[in-house]
C-alpha cells in the first residue's frame, strides 16, 4: 500500500538524519516538557559559570592590599551572600524538577497498550486486543497513532535493557523480574529512532528500535495488515523460499503465521518485509541486505544468536526474495 506522506517523512529524515534520535528535537508531550526543563537548567548553569569566571579573572587581575581583618570581614559577607544565592537557585531548580515530574506520572485510561520485551539484541512488541485473535507480535519497529497516549509496558527476557526514544520521551529500564511502563503521546507524524540505553552485552551498539507515528487512520490500516496472516508466495521463487523457511533451521526460532514456521526464540517474521530495517536497525530492508544477513549473520552482527544456515546461492536468493515479500 503506497503511503506517500510516509515516504516524504522518510526522505526528510535522511536529509536531517541527526535529528531522528535527539532529545533536542522533541516531538512528544513528555519530551517537550523535558526540553523546556533542560533549557531552564542550561541557561542557569551558563550564567553561573560566566559569573564565577568573571569573579575569578577580576580576582587575579586586581591588586588590592587590604588589612587581613578588613578583607576577611568583607569576604565573609560576599561568601555568605553567594551561599544564600546558591541555596535559592538550587531550591528553585529542585521545585522546577518536581513540577516537571508530575505530568510524567499521569495515567491515561484510553492509552494504546504495547508490551515491549528486550532480548539480546532485539525488541519484541506485542499489541494486545480484547479479542484474542486481534492481538499480534512484531519486532524492532512499532507503529503508534498520533495524538493518542501510548503506554509501553516494558519487560526483559534476559539481561537489563533500556527503552529510549528521545524525541518522544525519556528512558525507562527493562529489568528481569520487574515490570515498568512509560506513557507518552506523539504530537505529529514521523519516524523516530530509539536505541537500547543500558549496556546489554556484545551487540548493545546494534539494538535499535524504530517508532513510526502516523495519523489514526493510517495506524488502523497498518494494524489490520499486521493482524492478517502472512501473504502467500506470488511466484515460483517465493514459493521455494517459503518451502526453505519451513524445512531449514529458520523455523526452529522464527514464526511466520500462515506457514508451519512457529519458533519463538527469534523475532516474528510474519510481516518482516513491511519493516524498514533488518537486524534491529542494522541493515535496510532490501533483498541484497537480506541475503547478506542470512548468508553471514555473525559477520554482520558478531555475537548475535542467529546461526549461519548453509544454503546454496539459489536457495539464498529464493529465501531472501520470500522474506522481503512478506509485507
Amino acid at each position: 500500500m503506497p503511503r506517500p506522506w510516509l515516504l516524504a517523512i522518510g526522505l526528510l529524515c535522511t536529509g536531517c538524519s541527526s535529528n531522528w534520535q535527539s532529545a533536542l528535537e522533541p516531538q512528544g508531550d513528555v519530551a517537550r516538557h523535558l526540553d523546556g526543563l533542560f533549557w531552564l537548567f542550561t541557561i542557569t548553569a551558563v550564567v553561573i559559570w560566566l559569573a564565577v569566571m568573571l569573579v575569578l579573572l577580576l580576582g587575579l587581575w586586581r591588586r588590592a592590599r587590604l588589612p587581613q581583618a578588613v578583607a576577611d570581614r568583607r569576604a565573609g559577607i560576599a561568601v555568605g551572600a553567594a551561599v544564600a544565592a546558591t541555596v535559592v537557585i538550587i531550591s528553585g531548580l529542585t521545585l522546577a524538577s518536581y513540577l516537571a515530574t508530575r505530568p510524567l506520572a499521569s495515567d491515561a485510561p484510553d492509552a494504546l497498550v504495547i508490551r515491549l520485551r528486550g532480548f539480546q539484541w532485539w525488541w519484541e512488541a506485542t499489541y494486545q486486543d480484547e479479542a484474542p485473535d486481534r492481538g499480534f507480535l512484531t519486532a524492532n519497529e512499532i507503529h503508534i497513532p498520533v495524538g493518542r497516549p501510548v503506554r509501553i509496558e516494558l519487560a526483559a527476557a534476559d539481561v537489563i535493557h533500556s527503552f529510549w526514544v528521545p524525541n518522544l520521551a525519556g528512558k525507562q529500564d527493562m529489568i528481569p523480574g520487574r515490570d515498568n511502563a512509560i506513557t507518552f503521546t506523539a504530537q505529529q507524524p514521523g519516524i523516530w529512532r530509539g536505541q537500547c540505553a543500558e549496556f546489554c552485552g556484545l551487540q548493545h551498539a546494534h539494538m535499535a528500535l524504530l517508532v513510526v507515528a502516523e495519523p489514526p487512520e493510517a495506524f488502523d490500516r497498518w494494524r489490520e495488515a499486521q493482524i492478517a496472516e502472512a501473504r502467500p508466495p506470488a511466484d515460483e521463487v517465493e514459493a521455494e523460499g517459503q518451502r526453505l523457511l519451513e524445512a531449514k533451521a529458520c523455523s526452529a526460532c522464527h514464526t511466520v503465521r500462515g506457514t508451519t514456521a512457529a519458533g519463538t526464540l527469534g523475532p516474528d517474521l510474519t510481516h518482516l518485509g513491511s519493516r524498514q530495517y533488518l537486524a534491529a536497525g542494522m541493515l535496510p530492508m532490501t533483498r541484497g541486505a537480506m541475503a547478506a544477513w542470512i548468508a553471514d549473520p555473525q559477520g554482520v552482527k558478531p555475537g548475535n544468536n542467529m546461526p549461519m544456515v548453509p544454503l546454496t546461492a539459489d536457495e539464498l536468493q529464493a529465501l531472501s526474495a520470500y522474506l522481503v515479500s512478506l509485507k
Binding site: 553561573i48 578583607a71 560576599a78 552485552g201 551498539a205
Partner: protein
C-alpha cells in the same frame, strides 16, 4: 611515659644536632638491597611507590581511552571488534577508578599526612606495606587478564544479570569481582592508618582547628572509605558466590533481585566519587594559600563543607537508578539530596574565590592547574545538578552527556588539582623542582585538550548517542563530532605525555629545591627535601594553623623521644596534648609474604571454593610470623 630508664635508653635531649641526625638515621633508615626494599615500612618509600604505580595505571588507562577514540572516530569502524571494545571500556573504567584515582589520592596521603601532622611514620606501617602489595597484585591481576584476552567485559559497574553466571561465561566477571576485593582491602587498610595517624599522632599543639586542610580532607575521605567500601565488598562477594557456588542473590527466577546489585554497588559507587574528589579539594585548599600569599579564607566553613560533603555523599546513590522505575516519591527525595550537595561544594568554591580575591596570586604551575580546575570542574558540577533532576536524567542517563559530565568532574575536579599537586610536592618527594616552562605547556595542553575532547560529548549525548557502544551507523550524523573528539583526545594525551617527560627529566636535571621552595606554611616544608627517614630530627610544636608563616625563624620543638629505637609521640584527639611515647614497628618481610598468601588465596578462589579453605593456612602462618613478639622489652613497652 615510663620513669624508669633502662641503662641503654638514649634520648634526643642528650645529643647534639649532628650526632642526633646520625643516630636517628641508623634507627629509622631502610637497609640497602632488595631485601631492604621489600621489607621497608617507611611511609615515604611506600607512598612514593604507590604514587608511581598509580601513575603507571593512569598512563595505561589513558592508552585504552585513546584506543576507544580511535574506534569511534568514524561510523561503523572496524578497528576494534565488540568483544575487545567491551573489555577495553570495562578495564578503562575499572582501572581509572580502582587502580588510579582512589589509590593515588591515598598514596599522596600516605606520603604527606605524617609529614603534615609532624610525626615520624604512619600508624600501622606494616599494614601500609601490606596494603601496597595487595594493591599491586590487584592491578597486575586486571592487566594480565586483559592481555590474555580474559579481561572483564561487563562494564566497571558489572550489572547483573549480564555479569551473572548465565550471561557471562568464563572467568572475566570473576576477575573483575576479585580485583575489587584486592583494591578494597588495600583502600580500607590505608583508610584505617590515616584515621589513626591524624587522630593520635599529630604534633603537640596541632589541635583540630590547626590541622592542615588536606589532612582534614583525608580524614573525611578515610571515614567515607570505611563506611562505603563494605557495600561493594558484600556485592562483589555475593556475585562471586552466585557465579562460583550457585547462590541466587541476584537471580529473580529464584527469588533474588537484580536491583539489589545496583543499590549495593551505588551505595558504594557514589561515595566513591567523593573519595576521589574530597582529597583533591584538600589539595587545593592546601596549595592555594601558598600561591595567594595569604592564609586560606574560611578555614572553618571549608572543614564543615568537607565534612558535610562526606555525609551527604551517602544520600545520593539512587540518582544512578532514576530510570529503573523506583517509586516517584523516593526518587524525589534523592533529587533534593543530590542537588543539596551543590551547597557545600559552592561554599568551598566561594571561599577559594575569596582567598584569590583578597590575596596576591602568583601564577606558578600548581596555581595554573587550580585555575584549570575552576574552568572545568564548575561546568561538571552544574551538569551534575542537571542529572540530579529525575526528569532530565531520564533523557541524559547512559548517554555521552553523562560521559562528559563525570569526566568534567573527575578529571577537572580531581586530576587537574592532582597534576598541580605533583608540581607542588614533587620538590619534597624528589628534592628537585619540575620545570615552570614545561609546566605552563602541560597546563595549557591539558586544559584545551580536555575541553575540546569532552565538551562535544554533551551535545552527542543529547543527540542520542548512548554509552558503551562500539559502533554507530553513519546515518546518525554523529561522525563529524566524534572525529573532532578523537583528534582533540590526541592534544589531551600530548599534555599528559609532556607531564610524564617533565617528571622524568626533573628527577635528574631539575634545580635543587631546598626545604621550602614555595614559601609554604605547613609542616611538611619544615624538613629537608626529600625528608630524612625519621622525617623530623625533633618533633615540632604547633601554635597556629600556618606554623611556618607565624614562626618563620625556627619552630619550637618537643624533645624526649628515644634515638636508639623507633619511637613516636602519641597525642590527644582534639587538643593534641602529648600522651605517650609509642614504639613504631621495624621493617619486616612478613607483610609481603602475607600479601602473597592472601592474593594467591583470593586468586585461586576464582577457580574453586576450596581455595578459601586451604589458602587460609598460609595466610594464618604469615600473619602469625608478622605479629610474633620479639621478646625485647621495648616491644612490650
Amino acid at each position: 611515659m615510663s620513669d624508669e630508664r633502662p641503662p641503654h635508653d638514649l634520648r634526643d635531649t642528650m645529643l647534639a644536632e649532628a650526632s642526633l641526625a646520625h643516630g636517628l638515621t641508623r634507627t629509622w633508615r631502610t637497609p640497602a638491597g632488595l631485601l631492604g626494599a621489600l621489607s621497608t615500612v617507611d611511609h615515604k618509600i611506600i607512598g612514593r611507590r604507590y604514587i608511581a604505580t598509580a601513575f603507571v595505571f593512569l598512563a595505561l588507562g589513558g592508552i585504552l581511552g585513546l584506543l576507544m577514540r580511535w574506534q569511534l572516530a568514524r561510523p561503523e569502524a572496524r578497528v576494534i571488534g565488540p568483544d575487545l571494545y567491551n573489555q577495553i571500556f570495562t578495564v578503562h573504567g575499572t582501572n581509572m577508578m580502582f587502580l588510579f584515582a582512589v589509590p593515588v589520592m591515598e598514596a599522596f596521603a600516605v606520603y604527606l599526612v605524617p609529614l603534615m601532622v609532624g610525626t615520624r611514620n604512619i600508624a600501622f606501617p606494616r599494614l601500609n606495606a601490606f596494603s601496597y602489595w595487595v594493591y599491586l597484585a590487584g592491578g597486575i591481576l586486571l592487566w594480565v587478564a586483559f592481555i590474555l584476552d580474559t579481561g572483564p567485559d561487563v562494564g566497571w559497574f558489572a550489572y547483573v544479570p549480564l555479569s551473572g553466571p548465565q550471561y557471562a561465561a568464563g572467568k572475566r566477571a570473576d576477575i573483575w569481582a576479585q580485583m575489587i576485593t584486592f583494591t578494597e582491602i588495600s583502600a580500607l587498610a590505608v583508610a584505617v592508618e590515616i584515621v589513626v595517624t591524624v587522630l593520635k599522632q599529630r604534633a603537640p599543639g596541632m589541635s583540630l582547628n590547626r590541622v592542615p586542610l588536606f589532612v582534614w580532607s583525608m580524614l573525611v575521605t578515610s571515614f567515607v572509605i570505611i563506611l562505603a567500601m563494605p557495600a561493594v565488598m558484600v556485592a562483589s562477594t555475593a556475585l562471586i558466590l552466585d557465579r562460583l557456588v550457585g547462590t541466587h542473590f541476584f537471580n529473580p527466577a529464584e527469588g533474588g533481585d537484580v536491583l539489589l546489585w545496583q543499590h549495593l554497588f551505588w551505595f558504594f559507587g557514589h561515595p566513591e566519587v567523593y573519595i576521589i574528589f574530597i582529597p583533591a579539594v584538600g589539595m587545593i585548599s592546601s596549595m592555594l594559600p601558598t600561591f595567594c600569599r595569604r592564609p586560606i579564607f574560611g578555614y572553618l566553613p571549608l572543614v564543615l563543607a568537607v565534612v558535610g560533603t562526606g555525609i551527604l555523599a551517602f544520600g545520593l546513590w539512587v540518582h544512578h537508578m532514576f530510570t529503573t522505575g523506583l517509586p516517584r516519591m523516593g526518587e524525589s527525595f534523592f533529587t533534593a539530596s543530590s542537588m543539596a550537595i551543590a551547597v557545600p561544594n559552592g561554599i568551598q568554591i566561594f571561599c577559594w574565590l575569596a582567598t584569590i580575591w583578597y590575596g596576591r596570586p602568583v601564577l606558578k604551575t600548581p596555581m595554573l592547574m587550580i585555575l584549570a580546575f575552576f574552568f572545568t570542574f564548575i561546568p561538571g558540577g552544574l551538569t551534575g545538578v542537571m542529572v540530579a533532576s529525575v526528569p532530565l536524567d531520564t533523557q541524559v542517563h547512559d548517554t555521552y552527556f553523562v560521559v562528559a559530565h563525570f569526566h568534567y568532574v573527575l578529571v577537572g575536579g580531581a586530576v587537574f588539582p592532582l597534576i598541580g599537586a605533583v608540581y607542588y610536592w614533587y620538590p619534597k618527594f624528589v628534592g628537585r623542582m619540575m620545570s615552570e616552562r614545561i609546566g605552563r605547556w602541560v597546563a595549557g595542553l591539558l586544559l584545551v585538550g580536555f575541553n575540546l575532547t569532552f565538551f562535544p560529548m554533551h551535545i552527542l549525548g543529547l543527540q542520542g548517542m548512548t554509552r558503551r557502544i562500539y559502533a554507530y551507523p553513519e546515518e546518525m550524523g554523529w561522525g563529524g563530532m566524534n572525529l573532532f573528539v578523537s583528534l582533540s583526545a590526541v592534544v589531551l594525551a600530548a599534555g599528559f605525555l609532556l607531564f610524564f617527560i617533565d617528571v622524568f627529566r626533573a628527577a635528574r636535571h631539575g634545580p635543587e629545591a631546598g626545604e621550602n621552595p614555595w614559601g609554604a606554611a605547613t609542616l611538611e616544608w619544615a624538613t629537608a627535601s626529600p625528608p630524612p627517614p625519621y622525617n623530623f630530627a625533633r618533633i615540632p610544636v604547633v601554635r597556629s594553623a600556618n606554623p611556618l608563616w607565624d614562626s618563620p625563624d625556627s619552630l619550637p620543638v618537643a624533645t624526649g623521644l628515644r634515638v636508639d629505637r623507633r619511637e613516636l609521640l602519641v597525642t590527644s584527639v582534639t587538643e593534641a596534648r602529648p600522651e605517650a611515647r609509642e614504639a613504631s614497628p621495624s621493617d619486616s618481610i612478613w607483610p609481603l609474604i602475607a600479601a602473597i598468601c592472601t592474593c594467591s588465596m583470593l586468586l585461586a578462589s576464582i577457580f574453586t571454593p576450596w581455595a578459601v579453605v586451604w589458602g587460609m593456612i598460609p595466610v594464618a602462618a604469615a600473619l602469625t610470623a608478622w605479629f610474633w613478639p620479639k621478646g625485647s622489652p621495648e616491644e612490650e613497652a
